[in-house]
Symmetry: C2
Subunit: 341 residues, 2 copies
């Protein structure tokens, strides 16, 4: 039997989405790198980082790409920085009428491109189906545990987003559609930068007043960039914007937030990332966001400080002092006017 | 010497604001109910719920209203439901050129009025100075501890909000001005309703995905009401809106959030409030918000469920199920479209 969906990449979130769809009684292929990984996952029937959750029977793990051309929906669950490589390998095998969706919350560092742009560039020229993004406040472990969650599917084509909505919807997983691909992709990617900073605030013990002010300012900053890049401003107020931002900035489960916390404890970035075991998309998205901002002429004070901390050895305390001293423009803070001293 | 400021009411936040201003070297009178309270506070030189923080020397606690007519700024730190009673007693003593500000984050239950409306109604007819509100993500304990915080001062009159900004500003307490009194008052009051619900979500163990979705939806709901009541929508995206909402929904220090948590543990509201020791403004603001919403024709699904839980014995689980089942309109979730099932 041909699976209804293929999920590419056994990342924590990719695997969770594959399990979630399979739990709704659908036949799902989790497509992994090689036979060894397939054999291991088929033997254990669980993901090593989500070991409490057994794979449903209708989840089939395999490295075999033979069925790919006949599967109507392929969801890429790989990290943003490996999306292009994965596509170069798989794009020739994907059917021209296969809807391609992705779960990645990052921008390509080299090009500052969104993942749907990368997919569009790499997919074969005869491909005639829509490209979609799935993004929202979705900590993998909670979705895997069946806790109530919401997400957003965005595509240029309404019927594609509605068919993915039908596929993903369950009593506890509520799926909303959007036509704003740019806004949903940028909201999901840029919030990871704010989460790094929120983690730094947590690590420095700045308290909940300062953290709330920081996240508020962070949402304004990423909204400014998003709108200049062609997104709808309201998308940043929705589940895939503010919702995902809050989940990521406040949850102990958030990887990007944890990276910030470790940075505040003066640990080396390489050590932190090595220990994390999975990708923290925010780190690679910082330089991409600055590229995009420079191209579009948008000021990004928080992202600039994040970059200085991550890549130029600036201390979190100094970055914080620079942000506090800064005279923000009124719009940064909603309709409030800046302090005069 | 005549104090530069009087703060009325030795609530946790009123006392903290008085301490903060006194720490900047200003002479402040903390005006309390009676001689006994004044004597106790003058003896201890600290507030019983903020016992780590000693009063600065320039903070003078007294029940004596003799100086009131000559003090250029009087800040009411009393709870929303006692604002009118306090004003009836003190209004005749307040100078006609005294700027009157308040710190209360609630609406009057009986009338659904904002505090600046109550002040305007009760102040003597000859009073000719502006009325202001001070509101933001300001957990008292953190401000008392000198952790970095931000707040917003709103008044119809720019020079009044700027003079209060000058008075409150310090290197760690950053003060922004706004002309949107309605938006700042409603943001500060209505967020307490969302915080009750966020506490319920915490108490039920729903997880960070569900909580983030709930708070996102909560901000949309209170923004809708606020805008219909005459507020600027952007104010709800700023520090006194989103900022205060996040601090209140996520901090372990937030009283309103804690009340929700206790409700989810099936405790009786009266017992919870008795134990709390201080007012949880959200509880009294729920009926006021529903009155205002009915008057303005705004749907408030979250506030309605909060009211049913608080006052009609609906179980939190049932209220949650009703919210999850509900078919939200697209605008509720930013630009996303509602699920079809």
């Amino acid at each position: 039997m041909i699976p209804e969906v293929a999920v590419v990449g056994a990342t924590g979130w990719g695997t969770t989405v594959a399990m979630h769809i399979a739990r709704q009684g659908r036949l799902v292929q989790l497509l992994v790198r090689d036979e060894n990984e397939a054999a291991r996952l088929n033997r254990d029937r669980r993901h090593p980082r989500l070991a409490e959750f057994e794979f449903p029977a209708s989840l089939n793990v395999s490295a075999d790409t033979a069925a790919l051309s006949a599967i109507p929906l392929v969801i890429f669950g790989v990290p943003a920085q490996t999306m292009r490589t994965n596509l170069r390998q798989l794009a020739p095998l994907i059917g021209h009428h296969t809807v391609v969706a992705h779960l990645a919350k990052g921008l390509e560092t080299e090009t500052a491109k969104r993942m749907s742009e990368v997919i569009r560039e790499e997919i074969s020229s005869g491909h005639a189906a829509p490209i979609a993004v799935i993004s929202g406040p979705n900590l993998s472990r909670e979705v895997a545990a069946g806790l109530p969650s919401t997400t957003v599917v965005a595509a240029d084509d309404d019927s594609a987003s509605r068919s993915i909505q039908d596929l993903l919807m369950s009593p506890t997983f509520r799926v909303y559609t959007s036509g704003d691909v740019i806004g949903v992709e940028l909201g999901g990617s840029l919030k990871n930068i704010v989460a790094l900073g929120a983690g730094v605030a947590d690590g420095l013990g700045l308290g909940d007043n300062a953290k709330a002010a920081f996240v508020t300012r962070g949402l304004a900053e990423i909204t400014r960039l998003g709108v200049r890049a062609g997104a709808q401003p309201m998308t940043f107020q929705g589940l895939s914007g503010l919702g995902d931002l809050m989940a990521t900035c406040y949850s102990p489960l958030s990887r990007n937030r944890r990276v910030g916390e470790q940075i505040a404890a003066n640990r080396e970035l390489d050590d932190i990332l090595a220990e994390l075991g999975e990708v923290a998309e925010g780190v690679q998205t910082v330089p991409a966001a600055l590229k995009l901002a420079a191209r579009l002429g948008v000021e990004m004070p928080i992202t600039e400080q994040a970059s200085a901390i991550l890549f130029q050895g600036r201390s979190p305390g100094e970055a914080l002092a620079l942000l506090l001293e800064r005279e923000p423009r009124a719009e940064v803070w909603g309709s409030e006017a800046a302090p005069v001293c």
